[in-house]
């Protein structure tokens, strides 16, 4: 299996602070990888680097073998990498349906002129967009909440909606930033199942940032550990949990984390 995402010596400095230092790892195509580390280890920074929000200081990011560092965020999203956010960034005043419908826009090609003049192409493609949004919501179990304004949804459903929105762009790599934050054990189990299902059904790869050890250990096939912006360990969940450096820096002493 080839790597769909490869980080090579990725480094990001903010002035004098090295947030991410020489980090390298791969996400296998079709795999679910985890990125863990204490708070401030640089995990979200890496997501921001991958998605083009931050500019890379040095090193490279390869997606499907091609470098994407230096590209604009919307281009990267178009190329097939989408994400969810640590603090949910839904389009708050829009309904669940509209959130997803908006993100479907890449599946249509009609121009402004065609929409202003309501030419046939607009009608055709709009219909297809609406159908796509409807089916996505159905797959993700959000159909009966389609009309709810997204900020009124319970927390767990908001997270699920964010994932649904990310799927609307037909990504090949899904980045999930702490998707289980604030969830109880039951919700976390649901989420674990969901991630696996999404990967299978939509044929994509997943990279997850998480603190919930159950989720990481239960769902990820490969884990990369960060500490203070540096790579600490890389391998399967078993390998990583037995790695003395990791045990000392992160897992050690506290045992299993529970929220």
């Amino acid at each position: 299996m080839s790597a769909i995402l490869e980080l090579k010596g990725l480094t990001k400095c903010f002035g004098g602070l090295t947030a991410v230092g020489n980090v390298s790892f791969q996400v296998k195509e079709g795999g679910i990888s985890g990125l863990i580390g204490p708070n401030g280890a640089g995990k979200t920074t890496i997501f921001n680097l991958i998605t083009g929000v931050y500019k890379v200081t040095s090193g490279d990011i390869l997606f499907q073998g091609r470098s994407i560092s230096g590209r604009e965020p919307y281009q990267i999203a178009d190329a097939g990498i989408t994400r969810t956010f640590q603090n949910i960034r839904l389009f708050k005043n829009l309904s669940a349906f509209d959130n997803v419908l908006t993100a479907c826009h890449t599946s249509a090609k009609y121009s402004i002129l065609e929409s202003v003049c309501r030419l046939p192409r607009y009608w055709r493609e709009e219909k297809a967009l609406r159908e796509k949004a409807t089916s996505l919501l159905e797959i993700m179990g959000l159909s009966d909440r389609a009309d709810v304004v997204s900020s009124n949804l319970p927390y767990g459903l908001q997270r699920r909606l964010e994932i649904t929105r990310a799927l609307a762009l037909d990504p090949k790599l899904l980045l999930l930033d702490e998707p289980a934050a604030g969830m109880n054990p039951d919700e976390t189990k649901d989420l674990m199942r969901l991630i696996g299902e999404v990967r299978d059904r939509f044929n994509l790869s997943v990279l997850v940032i998480e603190h919930h050890m159950d989720l990481i250990m239960g769902v990820c096939e490969h884990i990369h550990v960060l500490n203070f912006g540096q790579s600490l360990a890389d391998g399967t969940p078993e390998e990583v949990s037995n790695d003395p450096k990791v045990v000392e820096a992160y897992l050690g002493g506290e045992g299993k984390k529970s929220c």
Binding site: A77, R89, L90, A103, E126, D147, V148, A166
Partner: protein, 300 residues
Amino acid sequence: MEYIAGIAILIGINLIAVLGLSILTGFTGLFSFGHAGFMAIGAYIAAIFTARLHLPFVLAIAAGAAAAGFISWLLGLITLNLKGDYFCIATMGFGEAVRVILNNIPYVGGARGWESLPKLTNAWWVIGLDIVCVIVTWNLINSRHGRNLVAVREEELAAQMSGINVFRQKMIALVISAVFAGIAGALMANYMQYIRPTMFNMVKSTDLTIMVIFGGLGSISGSILGTAILVSLPEVFRNFAQWRLVIYGLAVIVIMVSRPQGLVGGMELTPSGIRKVMSARKAKAALAAETKALEKRGEI
């Protein structure tokens, strides 16, 4: 009767500018305090076409609109990368700069203004262009392009992550809003038959923005309603000339403090718009009921 027709025409003219601004502010979330500057460009270019070059009105309007659009594109290139607050300030500077520049061009009358412009704007022009602009705005908003604009307003970062070229969307909104303002300016010049730079100062820009907010951000029907009310109201207070603006200023404060969502909030006063609000409320109630039921059963 003529008096009312006059007010109706003024409403119609301002509506075009307000619709454009609504696209920029109400739907894309960018505030501009310099849109009177685009109206001025439209007005003056159109005046040159009709009063100096004696070309047909339709060309004058088109030229005014195109000029405003072009200049807005230039402005956008420089300023759209700025954060929201700073963009706002830049538009302010732009509006004032246009006014100051016009003050110093004797060819178009300078600070004293330009009089005796031909009266070419009539009810047909205004109604016709109003209908066109409302349709264009409506069709734009209810399309993937319109949704992208709203996404930029709601969560710029998430919009980027959803494959939306935020800069391009903002530029589209800016240029369209400027074109609309240019059309309005052209109509105004050939209706009032005189134009002066002070007619397009920051107070005018603020007026336009207030009309958008008063009607309700993100609502086309709101903008129509807001414009109709705010343009006709001063006429009602005409007799209290001096106090008119005092009351206006106070009203602005009161509105912002007590009902900033404007008349209609973010909804549209159309059957589909109302239906949307209704179904959202129903869905929310259903959700609340289910949650309560689950809580009662101890599952939450």
